[in-house]
Amino acid sequence: MDNCDKKVYWVWLSQIPGIGAKRFHLLLERFGDPIKVWDAASEELFSLSPVLGKNVVSDIINQRQDKILDKIYESLRSSQYRIITLLDQEYPYLLSQIYDPPPILYCKGRRVQDNYFGISIVGSRRSTGYGRQMAERFGYELAKAGIIVVSGLARGIDAMAHFGALRAGGATVGVLGCGIDRVYPPENKKLFKIMEEEGTILTEYPPGTSPLAGNFPARNRIISGMTNGTMVIEAGLKSGSLITVDFALEQGREVYALPGNISIDQSAGTNKLLKEGAKLVTDVWDVLEDFGIERQKGQDNAISVQLDFFETQVYNALQEGERHIEELSKDTKMDIQKLNSVLTMLEVKGIVKQMPGKIFIKTWDA
């Protein structure tokens, strides 16, 4: 029996409705291998009814059809995605260490390297501009340092973390709460495409699964489970990111949190985590030192691009934080028309970023 034949039974068992990771592991413990479940006598399965539930047992028995196996064979040969079982070498080793690792992963894109360090970056979908910028920054800096950046391919923080890692040319993994053939949320279509080529997308849900609200907490256990630590950029008090943190703690992983403005809802969750003992992060070295990477002396602050007199004035005015265009006009004593053109030049040079409401901030790496 080759590997493919063996996989078929893994997939078959994992696809039976009602069989999640927990019941799968229960059966695995009892029978040793999914093929034995296929071969088992009905009586033996029925004897498990008290543990599995009557409906699940009858489902297993009903699903023991050859045509279902044929279908799975076909999907195994699909070029759209690949299927990884818990036994495969490719299965992320950190994930296999958790209490209920998904028996099957559907996967697209690059293979996750065998021994890796990973950090998951999570945060509210309703994020602030600051949050998105920081997600991009840490995604970039962690990936640059060779850490795999894991997130959920959702809106806001998630997407920015992926973008940051991709920009650094590093490895990044997106974990879905739906089937591998679905794009959710739809506005991330472009990101999905890039991730398929330059990153990795994986999910435990079989193709065709809708992004049901109930799937996401379970997905979060994979996000935290795949990594050595979870970093929360921004989270409200009821954010799903806090579920990921709970999983990380359960799994014995580190929790990092970014301090935030105390008057904003989106920071309430992270600030609460900090109070409860999460590690406070103000730069990437706070994370990297846990991996034994030496803190390096901060690079000098000189910017590499040439700025003229007016641009320098605006740049200096932005040192203290975000500024509205009229504040800048007051600070730099420039009139609006001059300032507008200087700001465009700074934006094009990548030194200044514009936020909704004509607010300007210095980019983090400037």
């Binding site: 979908r125 309703r126 809802d265 909704p356 004509k358």
Partner: protein
């Protein structure tokens, strides 16, 4: 006995001559009006009868037939009262019709014989001034009529006064207006930009918009002053020329909206319809077409507050008149064309709760999800958004307080700069049949908005790094042309482009 006098009717904003024929024969006393009169014309029987009697003349107890020719056009309004009365008086030999004095008679009669003002005098006279040189009308319409050059205007208070003049009992003097404007004139505005504290970036954007005739969309939280700023926009628009004033007055007169005074409108109009407006109220319509808001905003500003709240189909009907500068409304009665060269100013909130992107001490937090924001912004269709050359963000109140170096320029100072920039444009486009930068087509943009290699370099980089959409390219060129004109520069310099790029907020993708 038969008598013929002349009058005029109006359709849309065009007038036409109406021959009023009155025939009086012996027979049962009947008073008939034919020639497709509507109810208000038919009711003139009663007004005419009473006015003739109460002015001390005799109303014949005979069979009276009045024909309004051309008989196949529907007539409406009380403007024929005077002509019918004069016809009856002439047919009964109470007055003599002078061959040399055959004017147009316009006016509504009151029961006591007083002449009451009518609507549409200016458009009627403008349309028929080639055919007729004399007009008799109520005193209160005289000022309005005096704007039509080459017309002898005779105005009277009462029917009796008119008749005694015709009989030679007092002399016939034509009305001369004391103030005829041949040149542009300066208007006075109730709202002035000097009253606006701060908001320098918005003021600058509006100045550019006024100079180039660009349509503007303002994005900002509720209460940030979008309406207040828009209301002041007409005060910095270029001075009205006499011909433009005449065109505006013509529309207002036809719509019956001309209020006494000088008889001519000296201010650029500012129309601000509510977002529940219907399609025909916006562009014009009705059984007999009347001008809509876009025509009433001719040579002025049409301000659509809370743009996403307007019905989508209503906004789409704006697209064609925006391109053509006029709207043709076809009805069973015929079709009327109304001019509609207006500057479109829209305002909207950045999201449905209105607080997205707000910062500052007393900022309110946005409670919208990214999806809701996206849906809200997508209520404005791409083609409509394309009509707005300038997008400007209006910040919330908390920022207004912090401004220190505000210039508080008066509208007049700004208008002077705008006038100079407009002059440059008119000179440049003499051969192009356009007047200002916003009208540039894509071929003309290539011709009149050339940019050097440094400019091209900036545009390339800006599009790549700021994620602007492709449709922004031509708009940025047009706006930078206006910025250069304001500065008096012949060439578009890189810093003009750089400033123009800042006025494309809606193209940015930071709205998530």
């Amino acid at each position: 006995m038969l008598a013929k006098v002349k009058s005029a009717g109006i359709f849309g904003i065009d007038g036409y001559t109406v021959d009023v024929e009155v025939d009086i024969t012996n027979g049962l006393p009947v008073f008939d009006i034919v020639g497709l009169p509507d109810l208000s014309v038919r009711e003139s029987k009663e007004r005419v009868r009473a006015a003739i009697k109460n002015s001390g003349f005799e109303f014949p107890v005979k069979r009276i037939t009045v024909n309004l020719a051309p008989a196949d056009t529907k007539k409406e309004g009380p403007a024929f009262d005077l002509a019918i009365a004069m016809g009856i008086l002439a047919a009964t030999d109470q007055i003599q019709i002078d061959k040399d004095f055959d004017p147009l008679y316009l006016g509504e009669l009151s029961l006591d014989g007083t002449l009451r003002p009518i609507n549409g005098v200016l458009p009627m006279l403008l349309s028929v001034r080639e055919l007729h040189k004399k007009v008799v009308l109520p005193k209160s319409n005289a000022m309005e009529a005096s704007n039509v050059s080459g017309m002898d205007i005779y105005s009277f208070e009462t029917l009796r006064e008119l008749v005694s003049c015709l009989k030679g009992e007092s002399c016939l003097v034509s009305f001369k207006s004391a103030n005829i404007f041949d040149m542009g004139f300066e208007a006075t505005f109730a709202d002035d930009f000097s009253e606006v504290k701060g908001q320098e970036s918005v003021k600058r954007a509006l100045e550019i918009a006024a100079a180039g005739g660009h349509n503007v969309i303002m994005i900002g939280p509720p209460g940030s002053g979008k309406t207040m700023l828009a209301r002041r926009l007409p005060s910095i628009l270029p001075d009205l020329t006499y011909n433009e004033a005449l065109e505006i007055t013509r529309i207002y007169s036809a719509a019956g909206l001309l209020k006494g005074g000088d008889g001519i409108i000296k201010q650029r109009p500012f129309m601000s319809p509510h977002h529940t407006i219907s399609g025909s109220a916006l562009v014009g319509g009705g059984r007999i077409p009347v001008p809509g808001q876009i025509s009433l905003a001719h040579h002025g500003v049409l301000f659509l507050d809370e743009l996403p709240e307007f019905r989508k189909d209503i906004l789409e009907v704006l697209r064609q008149p925006l391109e053509d500068g006029e709207i043709t409304i076809s009805r069973a009665q015929g079709s009327a064309t109304f001019p509609s060269k207006f500057m479109l100013v829209g305002s909207m909130n950045p999201c449905s709760c209105g607080h997205f992107g707000e910062t500052g001490e007393n900022a309110q937090e946005c409670t919208c999800t990214p999806m809701q924001i996206k849906r809200y912004l997508s209520k404005i269709s791409g083609p409509l958004l394309d009509r707005f050359d300038i997008h400007v963000e209006v910040p919330s109140l908390s920022f207004k307080k912090i401004t220190g170096n505000e210039k508080n320029e008066s509208s007049k100072e700004i208008r002077n700069r705008v006038n100079r920039a407009r002059e440059k444009q008119v000179m440049r486009y003499t051969k192009e049949n356009i007047y200002y930068n916003a009208q540039l087509g894509s071929r003309q943009i290539r011709k009149f908005c050339p940019i050097d290699s440094a400019g091209k370099d900036l545009m390339g980089k800006a599009f790549a790094s700021l994620k602007l959409s492709a449709r922004a390219y031509d708009r940025i060129l047009k706006v930078s042309r206006t910025i250069a004109d304001l500065e008096g520069s012949t060439n578009i310099e890189t810093y003009h482009l750089a400033e123009a790029i800042q006025y494309r907020s809606m193209d940015r993708q930071y709205w998530i």
